[in-house]
């Protein structure tokens, strides 16, 4: 059955025709061309597909597309400002080594964003708990956790890091 749903996608009212058996990840990647969310397992076990729905981080691979009707969806593509200014978390991941192969990165950043929106002053334990569903094989998580901490407490950021300007204008 085909049906139409309306939702807010990265700040923009969106109306699409979908099939009942689509999941949100499929809708985003295959139908809306938003390939930032990745499929690492399709089973809720890796977090690469994480997006934010009505403020909550969810695994889009397990989320029925039908269920976003009337909701707000934020994907990695919608995180930077309209003028391209990177979100503080994006900047921090870039400059603190939170990114290696980058496959986990969009999901990781969105999990961190959902955490900070709910709890702007998380402890290290809170951060680890919030990111536990986002597997990363490259970094050992250390610099990812530091990337989030640097946003929480600006002064603890890596002051030696050279943030390159292109980073901000992209």
């Amino acid at each position: 059955m085909s049906r139409e749903i309306k939702f807010v996608l990265n700040g923009a009212q969106t109306c699409v025709a979908i099939e009942d058996d689509w999941n949100l990840l499929y809708l985003l990647r295959e139908k809306l061309g938003l390939t930032g969310a990745k499929e690492g397992c399709g089973r809720g076990e890796c977090g690469a597909c994480t997006v934010i729905v009505d403020g909550l981080a969810v695994n889009s691979c397990l989320y029925f597309a039908v269920e976003i009707d009337g909701k707000e969806v934020l994907t990695i593509e919608g995180l930077a400002g309209a003028d391209g200014t990177l979100h503080a978390l994006q900047k921090s991941f870039v400059s603190n080594g939170g990114i290696q192969c980058g496959f986990c990165t969009p999901g990781m950043i969105l999990s961190a964003k959902a955490l900070l929106d709910e709890n702007p002053q998380p402890t290290e334990a809170d951060i680890k708990q919030a990111l536990a569903g986002n597997l990363c094989r490259c970094t050992g998580y250390v610099q990812i956790i530091e990337s989030v901490e640097a946003v929480v407490d600006k002064s603890s950021g890596d002051i030696n890091a050279v943030v390159r300007e292109t980073g901000d204008s992209d």
């Binding site: 690492g40 990695i76 496959f103 890091a161 992209d170």
Partner: protein, 783 residues
Amino acid sequence: MIDDQERNGKKEIMEEFTVIGKRISKVDAVDKATGRALYIQDLKLPGMLYGRILYSKYPHAHIIRVGTEKAKALPGVITVLTGEDIPPVRLGFYKDNPLLKAGKVRSYRDEVAAVAATDPEIAREAISLIDVTYEALPAIFDPEEALKPEAPLVHEEHKTNLLKMPWSLHYGDVEAAKLDAVFNVSERFSTTWVTHCCMGTSGAIADFDHSNNLTVYTNTQIPSLAQKDFQETLKILGVKDKRVRVIKPCIGGGFGSKLDTYAYEHMAILLAWYARRPVKILFEREEEFIATSPRQPTVTYISMGCDKEGRLLYRDMSMVLDNGAYTSWGATTPSVMMMPITSLYRVPNVRYSAKCVYTNNTYSQAMRGYGNPQATFAIESAIDMLAEAAGIDRVEFRRINSNQPGDVTPQGLRITSCGLPECIEAVSKDLEFGRSRENGVGVGLASLIHVGGGARIYKSDGCGTIIKMDDYGKVDVFTGASDMGQGSDTIIAQIVAEELGVQVDDVHVFHQDTDICPWDVGAHASRTTFVAGNSALGAAKKIRLRLLAMASKATGVDEDKLVLRDRAFFVEGKPVLPIAKLLRGSHFTPRGEMMMADNFYDPPNENMGKDFRGNMSATYSFGTHGVRVKVDEATGKVEILDYIAAHDVGRAINPLLLDGQVHGGVLMGVGYALTEQVIMENGRNMNPDFRDYKVLTAMDAIHSKAVVIETIDDQGPFGAKGIGEPGCVPTAPAIANAIYDAIGVRIKDLPITPEKVLAAIKKKNGTVSCGIDAFTQKEQACE
């Protein structure tokens, strides 16, 4: 800027670099942080079909019939292939792996048929419609059993399950040394399958143009060698003299998994060839677990002895490796194991032999460390045992036997820069080894040696670079290197920027396309920083010389008075000519010049000779890891309290990325030590998902302390050596040693699960039975 001469000797002076040694963020990080980076998952070509593979239902069986009628009849199915339909494409350097099996399957992972359809769901359904009739054969899963004469043969034509590989060496006289040794240990260690778990699954797209030139988009670490493999497949298809172009999208993790070409890549080529449309094959996670090659399991027998003072006299090792049903680079890991076996610590007499054995298990391949983690687990565990036997402190024992600059090891490895003594000191100071500790807490350490200046496993160990500059002073670097996330693009950009006096952002590193990029043997053996770095540095030097000559002509100032920095030429601290202006001038002029240079760098290392002697790498990396653990003696659980990883990296070109390599390597090593295992039951992968294959999570993360020892290697680009793999090499033995220190039990088989620890504790306390074994239904001894 310093030249080679200054670099020699004068290690102490602070060179003034503008980008080398700085914590510079990765050049591709912004694309990745914004979701713009494109992986194979994200690519689609017009008219593209989706391919899928049918795997065997048996670990060993005759194929009686493959019924494809129903699959072919399914609307949307374009091509169905079986082993009978295609010419004999064979994979792997041993060529024992037919792309599609006909007649016989030898493991659950065997490819029996493949389809291409207009939609992934249709392809999936088509696969389920293929009927295969098998006749099961007796199978063999234990490599030691497989060596027995009565064992079923995996490859009848091979006549034995033992691969014909020459892995055997003997330097000095081990038997004589055994007589001289005062203290001896002898032990058996084993390691099991672990797998890369790249977060991005494997995939490839094959596309022929009208004249049958082939483009393959694939996640490879070896674009140039892949090009050759694909050419061979084309030849077998009867396609000659055509171009093969390999394009690498962003890679979602490598760790050695992409050092060979695989069935899915060749299958995509065949499907595209028969369908006359582009075909994409993309693995799902379960398939990634089942149909990619893990690190090979080993059984190791080691004996080692020392004299009264604790000096090592001999090391005698033999190994059995489970090769699985086919041969890929897993079978050649003994060539790298030889390095730690002959050369980790000074040991004059060494003997080693390894048997690679066919079984009906999955076939194995390279994974971060390439044999080194398995060998080092046995060596470093045994070192602790020997130190104890000799009554010498473990740290002291390692000091006594540490490699030193200038050593030539029995295998002929020439140790040049060597920070091992400093690494051992750093770890022992930090973890306070002699101090008494609370119950259940222990410390352990283990060291490593690894190739740090390339590894000549092929005739060439080379890498090419082309550099070109444009009118605006921007630099394009075309490198043979492959960035899989480890950051080689950034390192190369830094090296070039430093040499040319520009910023990292002025440099664009291009590695994605064999049509554009020069040749390279591949991203293995932690060789990229060293080899590709030197290659880029050489090219940049050529450009620099030409720029200086041109600038001198343009300004009338002597070359040696011109300083190239901050995108301009300076004379006595004042900018006199921007590079961009100079370049424009050279372009927009009659008989102008183009600013471009190429360089091929092949390091001064040697292929191993017949007796495996030879200086395989231009320099070697060293490191020592130390760990403090707490063992819960009631549950057997091991908790890591502190971790310190000291590495001799030559020079840290980018400490930010270096830390990342170390942290990532360490956690992977901890998984290898404690939680990760591909559970194989009679050849079948029992845990092909992240629920049961225990990759560690953020909550398990360890804040390891990364200590960098800079020995400024003479040969390395700006003194750097390789560091990609070492992070995960000594982790498991360091942890095993710490557990022994904590509770007095030694676990000799990886992974060190709580079950094994608890069983060992019980055994130590005199309990013998740990219940009934589910698989054998027999009483199970503890341990």
